[in-house]
């Protein structure tokens, strides 16, 4: 299972990285979303997968490790906050600058 998950994580990272390098601002944001999915799965996989019951402490164990789950929960929420912020930022940038081509967003020439 861990082997397969590692491959999936690799695909998510590769896809995210590829999108990060593209010209369109929207694709870059999609890329960051894919990368954060990859990271969440990575945290979980680096612990051990499927060892015991869900960490609801009723009855005898073994239970899965609750700590990575708590970390990921925090990460999901923060990722959501950042993604929504960046999304609105891209929207405002497009509204003001009339382009989402990152090659054209190159600062001021006469600095």
């Amino acid at each position: 299972m861990e082997l397969m998950m590692s491959l999936v994580i690799g695909v998510l990272f590769a896809a995210g990285t590829y999108l990060l390098l593209s010209r369109s601002m929207l694709r870059v944001i999609l890329g960051t979303a894919l990368l954060s999915h990859g990271v969440l799965l990575m945290i979980l996989t680096m612990g051990k997968l499927k060892r015991g019951a869900p960490p609801i402490i009723i009855g005898a164990g073994p239970f899965t490790d609750p700590l990575p789950q708590a970390l990921i929960l925090t990460a999901i929420v923060i990722g959501f906050g950042v993604t929504s912020f960046v999304l609105v930022l891209a929207y405002r940038a497009y509204q003001t600058l009339k382009t989402d081509d990152l090659d054209k967003l190159r600062g001021v020439d006469d600095e």
Binding site: E2, A33, L44, M46, S84, V88, D103, L105
Partner: protein, 784 residues
């Protein structure tokens, strides 16, 4: 007056000059001139103490934790330099009162010159090398300000920058040498370092230390190949050229070499480096001086040449040679100072310094002519002036170079007197050319911008004062031999030495050499036009000017080119740099530390439907990348998010699954909301194949690295997880059964507080961006 006040008083007066200027008006120069006079008298009073071999010292702690102390030391060598600095300083300040127009910025001038005087006194009287270095850089700095005094002139700025760059590079080298000396000896105090001379010479650091310290000295004293800044420093007002660039600052390097002789001198390496650079500068300076037309340029190259002579003598290292060097140092300050003051007068009264325009001035300017004749003949080494005496000592030392402890140069020993002879002939020729045509041959021409007439007495007196020293010392060398020269020689060699300077050595080789110099020099001078024509045919002299003028713009252009290569302004490029660097560092570390240990011993089992889910996840991710429509891409991203939520279910993480489902839904809604107002995907068709190729490679490598890292993280467990603590205590301490929730709000509640704050700030940010926007006019408006 205490010793400390002597070094600090110029700085204090420099601070007061702007105030005094208001009170004293244009007479500020007279106020300033009192200081060097007072200091000179104080130094004279110390003469008996120093002659008896008792140094005057002062010691204050400054930064005792690293051994930097405000420690001053006045021995024979410091005293000699002190006399030059204050004595010539007084003459130059009096001269400048008459020389500078009252329209000039006199406040700046006297502040800068006082800064310089204080710094120079500090250099020669510091016993602590760091203290000396600070004063050393202060002389570079004040020299920079003085060369650029007429900052509206382009040449002044060029000269100031050049001298700053070269002397500061030398100063930094010297600092490195000082630090190495400290590492070796554990102290910055000069006397304590000299006491450990044997240790320094035996260590492997000896040669680097010597080279670094000498770099500082050679750059300051304008020796080859650093001599190029001195001719360009002639853009400074003439009193400055006289004071800084002939009599004092350029001798700071000589002071350093003399001072360090005790610690570093006496080896073959020292002798070869110091003397060969000195001889080279002597030769090149006297040769180039012949080719100049500007009087100040002649004097500048002559200074390079004469400093080379002094350095050669100190490099020989025998007491006799050092005596010659110190005596010539003293003489050079007197005759070169008077010559510069003479050139200033000529410039002031005729409006030009071009020797091709000046003729027969002696008739209208007899006193100036007297200064020129005596100064030039002293420089040429003609009896009975003082230059003759030191030149004789130079010849003697060159002839005797073999017999001393320098026997290893035996096969080439004849070179030393020969170079000395040739350089002296050149010196004779340019010295005569300074005064002969300008003052004697021909009638006064009308070519000069001003009608020439004799200068006011205030301009003449300082020059006459300096030039009379040449005559007096020439006739009665004993006046300074015992009192000034001997303590200085003793301070350098550290051994008692009896100084006696004679006029008549008997019929010997040095005397014959002097005769040859005068005869050949006269012959060459009468054929000067042919000589100059011959010199003009010599193809371009090797000059480090060309290197300097190439190197400074080249460094700037190189930096610009490198910046342009990396700072492209494309976000993609910066992302690529970060990605490639991460790949290199993380991948490289894995490779170099042999960390690629993957164990497949402990894996969870895989069910068929899990494989299907993984495939769906991969398909979703690829869909985001490859789908052309943005709606399809968003939906594809949704597929990825929901599948991740399903995986959380399989991995026994109910809270994660819930949150992920909710967040994914809200995110999707947000994406759809925003994307409906955004343009269609940009077509990436026009992206070059090469760029696409790089992107693909970078993406695949990153994916591979992520896979590897996950596997390594899974395979290597160095210690037990701490989760058993949470599982045991969730109920007992937290009072709940859901371990994840108890961790979030109880065990690690601070994380949750932080994440709530993040969400709040993101919300506020979104609100601010949507609601408050600033139009071009600068007025905030509400967005629809």
């Amino acid at each position: 007056m205490s010793f400390l006040a002597v070094v600090l008083s110029p700085f204090i007066l420099a601070m007061l000059v702007p105030l005094l200027r208001k009170a004293a008006g244009n007479k500020i120069g007279w106020v300033v001139s009192l200081l060097p006079l007072t200091l000179f008298i104080w130094l004279v009073k110390q003469l008996p103490t120093v002659m008896s071999g008792e140094p005057v010292t002062v010691f204050y702690n400054w930064v005792p934790s690293i051994g930097v102390n405000f420690s001053l030391y006045l021995d024979g060598l410091s005293l000699l330099f002190g006399f030059l600095i204050t004595g010539i300083g007084f003459a130059v300040i009096v001269y400048s009162i008459y020389y500078l127009s009252t329209k000039e910025n006199l406040t700046n001038f006297y502040v800068f010159i006082l800064l310089f005087m204080g710094a120079m006194l500090g250099v020669v009287m510091s016993n602590n090398l760091i203290l000396m270095y600070i004063f050393w850089e202060l002389t570079s700095f004040s020299s920079f300000l003085l060369i650029g005094f007429w900052y509206h002139k382009e040449r002044s700025r060029y000269g100031a920058q050049k001298s700053m760059l070269i002397t500061v590079i030398g100063g930094f080298s010297m600092l490195a040498g000082i630090v190495m000396l400290w590492v070796l000896t554990g102290t910055f105090e000069v006397r304590e370092i000299i006491a450990q001379a044997a240790l320094i010479k035996e260590s492997g650091f000896y040669i680097p230390i010597t080279i670094l310290v000498l770099l500082g000295a050679f750059s300051k004293s304008a020796q080859i190949p650093f001599h190029i800044w001195l001719p360009d420093a002639m853009e400074a007002p003439t009193p400055i050229s006289c004071y800084l660039h002939s009599a004092t600052m350029v001798k700071a390097g000589i002071y350093l070499i003399a001072r360090m002789t005790g610690a570093l001198g006496g080896t073959e390496f020292w002798f070869l480096t110091v003397s060969s650079i000195g001889l080279g500068s002597l030769m090149l300076g006297s040769y180039l001086a012949l080719k100049q037309k500007d009087l100040k340029a002649i004097l500048a190259f002559s200074t390079i040449s004469q400093l080379g002579l002094i350095i050669t003598l100190i490099g020989y290292g025998t007491p006799g040679a050092i005596m010659g060097g110190i005596f010539h140092l003293f003489n050079h300050s007197a005759f070169k100072g008077s010559l510069f003051l003479m050139v200033g007068i000529v410039d002031h009264e005729t409006g030009t310094r071009d020797i091709s325009k000046l003729r027969g001035l002696a008739k209208v300017m007899p006193y100036t002519a007297a200064i020129a004749v005596i100064g030039s003949l002293a420089m040429a080494g003609v009896p009975p002036f003082n230059g003759f005496l030191s030149k004789e000592l130079f010849f003697t030392a060159s002839v005797e170079a073999v017999t001393a402890n320098l026997a290893f140069i035996h096969p080439y020993a004849w070179l030393f007197p020969l170079i000395a002879l040739c350089a002296s002939i050149f010196t004779f020729v340019y010295s005569v050319s300074i005064f002969h045509k300008v003052f004697f041959s021909g009638e006064v021409t009308k070519e000069t911008p001003k009608h020439p007439h004799e200068a006011p007495v205030g301009l003449l007196l300082p020059g006459l004062l300096l030039v009379s020293i040449n005559v007096i010392i020439g006739l009665f060398p004993g006046l300074v031999a015992k009192s000034i020269i001997e303590p200085a020689v003793v301070a350098i060699t550290g051994a008692p030495f009896y100084v006696k300077i004679y006029h008549w050595h008997g019929l010997n080789l040095p005397l014959a050499m002097s005769l040859v110099v005068i005869i050949v020099g006269l012959v060459l001078y009468y054929r000067l036009d042919q000589l100059k024509a011959a010199l003009a045919r010599v193809p371009g002299t090797p000059s480090s000017n060309r290197f300097y003028d190439w190197a400074v713009p080249a460094v700037l252009n190189g930096a610009l080119r490198i910046t342009n290569i990396q700072m492209t302004g494309f976000l993609r490029d910066y992302n690529l740099f970060i990605i490639l660097y991460t790949l290199l560092v993380v991948g490289g570390t894995i490779f170099m530390k042999d960390a690629l240990i993957i164990s497949t011993a402990d894996l969870a089992e895989v069910a068929f439907f899990e494989v299907v889910m993984a495939l769906i996840l991969v398909a979703g991710a690829l869909g985001v990348v490859f789908l052309k429509s943005r709606l399809a891409a968003i939906v594809s991203l949704g597929v990825v998010g929901y599948t991740v939520a399903l995986l959380f279910v399989i991995f026994r993480a109910p809270d994660l699954a819930l949150t992920q489902l909710l967040v994914e839904t809200v995110t999707l809604a947000l994406f759809l909301l925003a994307f409906s107002r955004l343009p269609k995907f940009l077509s990436e068709h026009d992206t070059p194949a090469r760029v696409k190729g790089i992107n693909v490679v970078a993406a695949l490598l990153t994916g591979a690295l992520a896979t590897t890292l996950t596997l390594i993280g899974h395979s290597n467990k160095y210690f037990e997880p701490i989760s058993h603590y949470f599982i045991e205590n969730t109920k007992k301490l937290g009072g709940g059964t859901n371990a994840v929730n108890v961790i979030l709000v109880d065990f690690r509640g601070l994380d949750t507080l932080g994440e709530i704050a993040v969400l709040g700030i993101a919300g506020l940010g979104v609100y601010a961006m949507i609601k408050l926007a600033i139009r071009k006019g600068g007025k905030a408006h509400e967005n629809e």
